[in-house]
């Protein structure tokens, strides 16, 4: 069988480069278009009215704080990345690959790290300039404000997806992928690792920052001093608003950058096993599907038009449906052109799109006020904080069940669609794995739009804060403006929650794809044919030990992430207390608090606290692989470590995200007037639950998404060390 395949492959390869080239250049072109559209949108948004001088004062403070944090954070992360780049170069130089492979790996890694940093930074750069324009636009109309906010968010969405595609596609081109399409994919895995590495620290640092500032501002401001949220007398208020940008906006941007990068690369590696069937077209399929999804997202964003009276969520949903419809059509076209119109694979893609829908609905069910879970938590607040916590935690534990069933269904369904796709010349297992890869591509095809909706959240949150802080006296006009930004903010909270569901869903679906890519990579390195068996047998002691350690890493990493928030919050609490004590004029409203010291303190603390969990995540898989290599089981123990770590990580992330979201909304439900409303005993209990949920849903949970994918990319890159 194999003896036939090799000459067949060589023959296909020779005549294939030309056909593949057109598609590759199309991908490059579309990704550049995406980046240009992002730049034009940025220009368009910035040309909008920038509000009153009072507003600008607040907005400038946020801008200054956020940019200072990002600069320092990027410097820290890129220094760590530089050290790692050297390690990668040396390891690959001394291993069998030689200097040539080492150079390529290092270039990929550095490019991944730089593109990820760039995408995160440029998205945030625009967001912190959009918030004030949204506040200004809200003075005249809701629909105008909505459009500005979404277009500002779309800058992040398009630049993230565009840069990710551009990076992978250019590496593929430059490394000669058109001539050697089956070997080049494994040379660009380091691009995914670079992206994950930056994303992990960006999400950790941003997540610690945002929640430390939030908890610190609330505990001293709302609880001790009794002043409302976003009050300009609170010295930590600017830090809190900065946090929304660096955590939610830059963090999630980095998260989805690495998702698209890592999952594109994983899919390409799996597609390499289908080379005998589809040639280079199969390998380029993931990139083409992603590029068409980007185009669909661009159209979707421009299709959003708000109405003054209607729920802004409807407008956003309409844009999403447009995107989904176009992405589905694009997917069908890509299947027709690149996969010989094999409809089994098209249906696998539809399964992925359906999965993203189901995840969004399930997340809504568990975190929105109109359903049983949040209402049961709100009711538990009647007997105090403890019953609130117990009840929310029980909801968090419960909420993993349906998503797991959906994922199991999607993976089994797409795998067997692939198995029965009737592909000649390749093993049914490879054909099935490609089915799961295509389902993941389907899920990710709308990433651009989803990310635009997500970034909408921190922008409107900030806009509300700017309106609140810039109007010292209440007036009918300012009330109207604030009510508009409040409505947008409420929608933003929903879109943020949905994106987390989407991100964890795509991580779960991609888990199997990336794991399979790792196995393929190990086979390639050990010169086994793709169709050879390479069992990760849980019945072997080292494999079992690896599985146990993988599950343990997730628990330990979450613990560090949560403790980091507590430690950083402590530093800001002390500073706010100190300022209130040193200058009584702050509370009286006669003198301004020192915002920038708070920003500075939480910046330093968050950057310090992100190092330990970050290095733990990076070092653990390598240590496990190198140690178990002594038992001749490095590659298999790491595989189990990766797999079980991913499973536990996905469940733990869902627990953290949804319990946190549910506590937050249980508080909102009570504030809507139930169980005694604001200020009641039940409300106090609900506030405690919300505070517990903050580091869960905004630090540990999102960091776990990134951890999962980091484990996949680092094991792909470090595989030669385990053999």
């Amino acid at each position: 069988m194999r003896s036939i395949q090799v000459p067949l492959a060589l023959w296909l390869q020779a005549g294939d480069a030309a056909g593949g080239g057109a598609y590759l250049y199309a991908v490059l072109g579309i990704s550049v278009i995406g980046i240009i559209v992002a730049a034009l949108l940025a220009k368009l948004v910035i040309s909008e009215d920038a509000g009153t001088p009072e507003m600008r004062r607040i907005s400038d403070a946020i801008k200054k704080g956020a940019e200072a944090f990002m600069r320092r954070q990027n410097r820290t992360i890129l220094s760590l990345a530089a050290v790692l780049a050297v390690i990668i170069f040396i390891s690959y130089s001394v291993s069998s690959g030689g200097v040539g492979l080492a150079t390529r790996m290092t270039i990929s890694f550095v490019l991944g790290a730089v593109c990820s940093t760039l995408a995160g930074f440029s998205g945030m750069w625009v967001s912190i300039r959009t918030n004030i324009r949204v506040a200004a636009a809200a003075r005249s109309s809701l629909s105008g404000a909505l459009q500005v906010a979404l277009r500002g968010g779309a800058v992040t969405g398009f630049s993230v997806v565009g840069l990710s595609l551009l990076g992978v596609a250019s590496l593929f081109l430059v490394f000669g992928g058109l001539d050697d399409p089956t070997r080049v994919p494994s040379q660009i895995v380091a691009f995914g690792f670079g992206a994950s590495f930056v994303a992990l620290f960006a999400q950790l640092g941003g997540g610690i920052y945002t929640k430390a500032a939030d908890v610190g501002a609330d505990l001293v401001g709302k609880v001790e001093a009794g002043i409302p949220e976003d009050d300009h007398r609170n010295p930590a208020v600017i830090a809190d608003l900065v946090g929304d940008n660096v955590g939610d906006c830059a963090g999630r941007g980095a998260d989805l950058f690495e998702s698209t990068a890592a999952e594109n690369i994983g899919a390409i590696i799996l597609a390499a096993a289908l080379y005998p069937a589809f040639g280079i077209k199969g390998i380029l399929f993931p990139l083409v599907a992603g590029a068409l999804g980007l185009l669909a997202s661009i159209v979707g964003v421009f299709a959003v038009k708000g109405h003054e009276e209607a729920d802004p969520m409807h407008a956003l949903n309409r844009g999403f449906y447009v995107t989904v419809a176009l992405a589905t059509a694009g997917f069908g076209g890509a299947v027709y052109l690149l996969l010989d119109g094999n409809w089994n694979y098209f249906f696998a893609g539809l399964l992925g799109i359906a999965t993203s829908f189901l995840f969004v609905f399930i997340t809504q069910y568990y975190t929105e006020v109109q359903y049983r879970p949040v209402q049961s938590i709100a009711k538990a607040c009647l007997s105090g904080a403890a019953t609130n916590i117990i009840s929310g935690f029980a909801v968090g534990l419960e909420c993993v069940a349906l998503p797991v069933l959906v994922i199991v269904g999607a993976i089994l369904g797409s795998y067997y669609l692939g198995v029965h796709a009737g592909i000649a010349n390749v093993s049914t297992h490879s054909a099935g794995l490609f089915g799961t890869a295509i389902a993941t591509m389907g899920m990710l095809s709308t990433a651009g739009y989803i990310l635009a909706m997500d970034t909408f959240g921190p922008i409107t949150d900030n806009a509300g804060g700017i309106v609140e802080m810039s109007h010292n006296q209440a007036s009918a006009e300012s009330d109207l403006v604030r009510s508009r930004t409040d409505r947008l903010d409420a929608v933003g909270n929903t879109t943020k929650a949905l994106t987390k569901g989407y991100a964890v869903g795509s991580a779960a679906l991609a888990a199997f794809l990336l794991f399979s890519a790792y196995i393929n990579e190990v086979k390639r390195l050990t010169h086994l044919p793709p169709e050879a068996a390479f069992p990760i047998d849980l019945g072997q002691v080292p494999v079992f030990a690896g599985a146990l350690l993988g599950a343990m890493l997730v628990f330990l990493f979450s613990s560090f992430a949560i403790k980091a928030v507590g430690n950083s919050a402590q530093t800001i609490i002390e500073e706010v207390r100190r300022q209130f004590k040193a200058d009584p004029g702050i509370m009286a409203g006669t003198s301004d608090p020192d915002y920038s010291t708070c920003v500075d303190i939480v910046t330093r603390s968050a950057l310090k606290e992100m190092i330990v969990p970050g290095l733990l995540a990076v070092a653990s898989p390598v240590v496990v692989g190198v140690v178990f290599r002594q038992f001749h089981a490095g590659a298999t123990a790491v595989a189990a470590f990766l797999m079980v770590g991913t499973i536990v990580g996905v469940l733990m992330a869902m627990l953290m995200n949804n319990a946190g979201g549910a506590w937050d909304n249980a508080k909102k439900y009570i504030e809507m007037g139930h169980y005694g409303g604001k200020g009641s005993e039940a409300h106090k209990a609900a506030v405690e639950g919300d505070t517990v949920g903050d580091p869960f849903k905004d630090t540990a949970g999102p960091s776990l998404h990134v951890l999962i994918k980091l484990l996949s990319t680092i094991t792909l890159v470090a595989a030669p060390l385990f053999l």
Copy 2:
């Protein structure tokens, strides 16, 4: 190779029965001795002074409530078991086994269920009669009270271990194990399943009861009405004291009954693979080691003598050291006699004993007041309930790391000791697996003593309650008596926490053993030789799906267990409020509350609430196996379900147990006078944490121990359905 082994095995078998018989009868004799000693101890304890009429009034109320609950619970559980017995009989009759095997399986299952029920009930029967004798003895001396409490606890310890050994050994004898030692072990697996089945419901029902009563009594009594703990005016106080018996005492008894049963059976199945090397002696080794451990525990209990001035924990520790020393010596003797003095296996046993020590130390570190974790939680109480919860949860997440490293070390160490034991005629994998089995045996050899220490906890807790409730006026004498029972109670809290560490540690260590036994069983059923490869390959889609579902089950089961406590607590809260309102004389102390209605209500509610999580646990593995059978992967998907479910279950149980224990002791630390002491804001925050921890550490956590082993035994029994 195999062609040599078969005649060799037949030849060995013929000459082996006589030698094996002596050991088997010795095991039967020792287990009967254990039960007789338990009966004598019960008689001895009951002959002690039964205190004042006032004390007896309280004690009788506890006795009545506990016995009523146990009777109803046993009726419910045994009805469910009867249904299951019929299902087992029918399934095995129609499957390849025929009526003969079906009868044996059903007998094993029923015997396991009955013995487990009997052990739990008799232990509790004595405990609820011991509590008042401890209270009475505390009037004259601390050491006398200590001895009575430990001996009362030892009744549970010895009857549990004795009945477990007796059950397995008699089935082995009656089913003709002496003549057919390699096939009979798999006919008695249903004994373990029967024990697990009863244990699951006993632990769930008891755990829900104890925490619902505790939370209910505290929330209305301490928080709403402002009366102290154990105050006789609280209508739920008797239900609370009953809960200590049915949850901690009967629940943990059932837990360790199934541990010893399931792990003995698993070890015997693995030993069957070593038949060519050690003959029947190897198969009987686990039982002999267990029997010698029981003798060691008996000596240990009688070695405990308290001193008036010294810390009672020292006396208990001395007894433990005596037990460990004797059990180690016995282990060495058993290795010498039964395993040809193969010292590698002796060292594997020592590794198991060392693991139990390390687990106890790590549990102490994470849950006792003198170490960093509890102190950091207490400090977090200064900024309120939310930071207390966050900090305790972070400790719970962190605490899994060291135990996982210990387990990985123990499993790898004992496996490679087995691999290098130089056993002829068997595969190195089988020899290695037997090493892990022996490590588990080592860990479990002290189970009798550990269980006696554990049952000491609820007995002294109850004794304190009786003293408190029977002295309406404070006096110097009653203060002295209460201070003695308080000291014993504090030690009891420690021993309870340690036993949980021990139970989860043995579950973790046994996980691999039981999993391997399942694989061996599947091989036997599919007529594969023991040395054949049967990989549970995580790279296969159905296997991965099974793993995902196993992890999900643990989350969902925990959610149900926690919610059950909340639901039951709600019913008792309403009843207590109703009584306070209907009869103001209760609070004034002029009329007695209606204790028995509270007992009755929580009994009914707990029994109702245990059904759903119980059936979920029993049905899930069967459903997974039967569904994935359609994908020709029933046996492997279930294996991954079992394995990953076990890993996640062990970690989640540690999280729940230790976070709960740490919150409890953080509260105690503040009550010792730190951070403002009792009544301060920090103390209020600590009380919230303690309440959150209650269902974690006393319901969900312990139920997860049982769940893990239930998954193992049910998959062993239901294996033919998956093929």
